[in-house]
């Protein structure tokens, strides 16, 4: 689950008072009026990019301009640290404070590496783990960055596959879960897939303290073209993942699966109608705040599908054109963002009619959104 908590009481008392004193009135007002804020990268106008912290009704609280297109944002709730990553094959990352208390710090992937747009903090917020491509050798890596030293890169280990995309931290605080999409790319050839006939996506479990690969799962030869990209961890500790199928439209394979610790991954059984609606593409996977509902979005199919985390049943579907970002709301449904600058509230209980909450046609929300409690 990526809904995380900044300790409100701590912040409002004792140590927090000093932090609050440094806040601009806008941020302070937003904190007082809302118990949840959201983070997302977006495109602004024709060619501008930024990452923003915003209120549930879509008002910017903090805005950090980015030098290029961003992708996901990862958050360390207790400290308010966040990092927005460049979209692959970008090489920049922007570390910032979610309440704007410190100036943002920019850092880069090393030579002959690029980011994939995702990362995760250690539980104490001291280390940041980022998925990276060693593109000369076509191997995936996890880069380790020291947040207390200007995000200096201090270590790396193999990701357990090619093309690592999203990385999450398991509830044990020690195991990294990595979706290795399987697709080899090299900046010399843009985003061209270099290994389609031999690609092999994996879900790797890695001990973040030793770099040891504890387990490396795949979906079998028949699902070889289903690139595992995005994940979430539900309230029961299971990993839910979404795939992007690299074959043609005349095949509509299952794209959503679940990995219970100690088991092999299993694919869900969505009916044909839902599969067509995904158009072979899952953009984001997210758990509700109570941990019981999973949202899977497909901007290419224009639908968000909700699943019961325990039973694996489909609970409902919303049609959202170009909807991709999904983040948990306190009401256990989801905020959905789309490429037309809309924010919508959707969930299994909305009867297929998500409510538009805000619209700003001068921006395009990018693939991912994160929600957190203040």
């Amino acid at each position: 689950m990526r809904s995380t908590e900044i300790d409100r009481r701590l912040l409002l008392a004792g140590a927090g008072a000093a932090l609050l004193a440094g806040l601009a009135p806008r941020q302070l007002a937003a904190m007082e009026a809302n118990d949840t804020l959201f983070l997302s990268a977006r495109k602004e106008g024709d060619s501008g990019y930024a990452v923003v912290v915003f209120t549930p009704d879509g008002k910017d609280v903090v805005r950090v301009p980015l030098p290029g297109r961003g992708h996901d944002v990862t958050l360390h709730a207790a400290s308010g640290r966040a990092v927005a990553f460049a979209r692959r094959p970008g090489t920049f990352a922007a570390a910032f404070d979610v309440l704007g208390k410190r100036a943002p710090v920019f850092f880069s992937s090393p030579e002959e590496r690029h980011f994939y747009g995702h990362g995760v903090y250690s539980p104490d917020g001291k280390l940041l783990y980022a998925t990276e491509n060693d593109f000369e050798n076509g191997q995936g890596f996890i880069g380790v960055y020291d947040t207390s030293d200007g995000y200096r890169r201090i270590a790396e280990f193999a990701s357990g596959g090619v093309g690592p995309h999203e990385v999450l931290l398991a509830p044990d605080g020690r195991t990294l879960v990595v979706a290795n999409g399987g697709m080899e790319t090299h900046p010399d050839y843009g985003r061209t897939i270099l290994n389609l006939p031999t690609m092999k996506p994996t879900l790797a479990l890695i001990d973040r303290l030793t770099g040891e690969i504890i387990a490396c799962h795949d979906l079998g030869e028949s699902e070889r073209l289903s690139s595992i990209r995005h994940m979430t961890i539900d309230g029961h500790g299971s990993v839910w993942f979404g795939c992007q199928f690299q074959g043609g439209k005349t095949e509509r394979p299952q794209l959503v699966g679940r990995l219970k610790r100690g088991d092999e991954p299993e694919l869900m059984s969505a009916p044909q109608d839902i599969l067509r609606g995904f158009n072979n593409y899952i953009g984001s996977v997210m758990t509700s705040r109570d941990g019981e509902t999973i949202a899977t979005s497909s901007p290419r199919g224009g639908q968000v599908v909700y699943w019961n985390a325990a039973s694996g049943e489909i609970l409902g579907r919303d049609r959202v054109v170009d909807g991709c970002g999904v983040a948990p709301r306190p009401s256990n449904d989801f905020l959905i963002s789309d490429g037309a600058g809309e924010l919508l509230a959707g969930g299994p209980g909305d009867g297929g009619k998500p409510a538009v909450i805000a619209r700003n046609s001068s921006v395009a929300w990018d693939n991912h959104m994160v929600g957190f409690r203040v």
Partner: protein
């Protein structure tokens, strides 16, 4: 013979179509757009490509049965024609071409580590029997099966050996023959599937809730328009970009596709011509509102200008690209194609009411 009643019916249907064309959602326009693509370009071009591979296969056979310089040059010409044919269809990456890794079996590219050449050379060196029949070749790496592998087997440094006959030539001929047969079989399969009335074309032409691939004419039209942007992206990202390297003075012409047989520019030119002819076949003008009426001819003009500059370039790129003037020309072509790609992907898509969302277009 149509009866008068039937004629009235046809006329009525035609009239209804005309009315429909004015509908705001552009459904009939989208349907016609897809039809234009299929009948005006996709079907004839895949058939032409298959024919070019038949010719290549025959000329390989003819040369190998009686090796001489004229036969060799005929074979070389047929190879260039087949590569050009491939460049004209490679951007149609939906339906039959992308089934069963046909695209990669026809041409495995990009091949950063020269896997295709190295594996083909190794097979020749070690006289690997398993490349001598189509059936066993199909079980090998895709990089050994197609147009990429033919280059080291028949061209490159193989000319002298092939002309002198002997065991090496015999083996090369056997391998080339198997590749030729394989290419014919793959390309015939693609052309036939596109021509079939109930194949992928039917999915594009009859969208709906029960259609596995397309729910609406708009979705089908979007797939078709995507061919344009894909085509320009392939030419830029895979054929031009790598040789432009890190900037003027630092070109990397050794990374050019089919450099060793002198066909790099053949590919680039045919790729741009293919996109240009595809755009023409789509016949977008009647579908554009007045404010966008300029688009079709403007994009054609840009592509013509890229082709004109391409016509001034010469092989071998390893020599010619050392000159700043030649490098600048290629860089200019790259910029022009980038502009056309942006216009086709954004403005033209808007004008045709088939714009694709920010996240859907270029997701990750």
């Amino acid at each position: 013979m149509p009866t008068p009643l039937m004629r009235t019916g046809l006329a009525l249907a035609a009239a209804l179509c005309l009315c429909g064309a004015a509908r705001a959602d552009g459904t009939d326009d989208h349907h016609r757009f897809v039809e234009n693509a299929i009948d005006g370009y996709i079907r004839p071009e895949f058939r032409r490509f298959a024919d070019s591979l038949h010719v290549l296969d025959e000329r390989i056979g003819a040369f190998c049965s009686a090796p001489d310089v004229a036969g060799y040059d005929n074979m070389r010409g047929a190879y260039s024609d087949a590569l050009a044919g491939f460049a004209r269809v490679t951007f149609l990456r939906f339906g039959p071409l992308v089934e069963d890794h046909r695209l990669e079996r026809l041409l495995f590219w990009p091949d950063r580590k020269s896997i295709g050449r190295r594996q083909a050379e190794q097979a020749v060196r070690e006289r690997d029997d398993s490349v001598l029949t189509v059936e066993s070749l199909k079980g090998k790496s895709v990089a050994m099966q197609g147009l990429l592998a033919l280059e080291p087997v028949l061209f490159d440094d193989a000319r002298e050996s092939l002309l002198s006959g002997g065991a090496d030539a015999e083996f090369r001929c056997g391998y080339a023959d198997a590749i030729g047969d394989n290419l014919v079989s793959i390309s015939d399969g693609i052309a036939t599937e596109w021509e079939a009335p109930d194949g992928y074309a039917a999915l594009l032409l009859a969208p709906g809730p029960d259609n596995i691939a397309f729910r609406s004419d708009q979705e089908a039209a979007s797939q078709v328009l995507g061919g344009l942007t894909t085509g320009l992206q392939i030419v830029r990202d895979q054929w031009i970009g790598p040789i432009l390297g890190q900037g003027p003075g630092k070109p990397k012409p050794r990374m050019a596709l089919f450099r060793r047989s002198g066909n790099s520019l053949v590919m680039i030119r045919a790729g741009v011509e293919g996109v240009k002819d595809y755009l023409a076949a789509l016949e977008v003008e009647p579908m554009l509102d007045e404010e966008y009426a300029w688009m079709g001819s403007s994009l054609q003009f840009e592509l013509s200008s890229a082709l004109k500059t391409l016509g001034e370039m010469k092989e071998p790129l390893t020599k010619t690209l050392r000159k700043r003037e030649a490098y600048d020309k290629l860089a200019f072509i790259d910029v022009v194609l980038d502009g056309v790609r942006d216009s086709a992907g954004e403005e033209l898509a808007v004008a045709l009411k088939i714009q694709v969302g920010f996240n859907a277009l270029d997701g990750d």
